[in-house]
Symmetry: C2
Subunit: 83 residues, 2 copies
Amino acid sequence: MAALCKALAHPARVKLLNYLADYGTCYFGKLTDILPLAPSTISQHVTVLKDAGLILGSDDNTRTCYCVNVERLEELKELIAAL
Amino acid sequence: MAALCKALAHPARVKLLNYLADYGTCYFGKLTDILPLAPSTISQHVTVLKDAGLILGSDDNTRTCYCVNVERLEELKELIAAL
DNA sequence: TCGGTCATTCGTAATTCGACGAATAAAGAA
DNA sequence: TTCTTTATTCGTCGAATTACGAATGACCGA
């Protein structure tokens, strides 16, 4: 629970998750348009979300496609709702 | 949203909120029994939860009585559920 | 083959976090 | 008054976070 919240403890990561939740999937390149941050920084945030299990990345030849891990997100929702 | 999650981004603070949610209210001294941390450290965590608005503290003469801020907690639940 | 794009990793600097002990303030008991 | 209890604040330290640019590797097009 603390680990999941920690993954959402930064505005940039909340925006990323929100965007993915709204648009389903997208490539990394699109994410760099969403946030006013350097690509390397965004990659770091994406890694945090990935490590928390909240998003999934599939290597589509040279690009990387990201999407929300719905099951994991449900897990978080249940944990918070049970508070 | 990120601010609220940040407040819950540490196991000690999750435990504190859980305890208060279960037991309604309690004094600071009781909280020091719940966690294996120095009182000063616990006070820091309590301050973080208080600053986030998740708990409320009322000064009962020499002791301090803490309880969950239900409205704020509901706010968090709605934000997470809306993801 | 030579560039160009895409995404990540590495190295680094500044800031924040998390923990502790010591000092403090305020109220009550001896 | 003096001592004890209670809760907080302060100072400090190491660890973690956040940001960037530079370097890297993999793939495609010219």
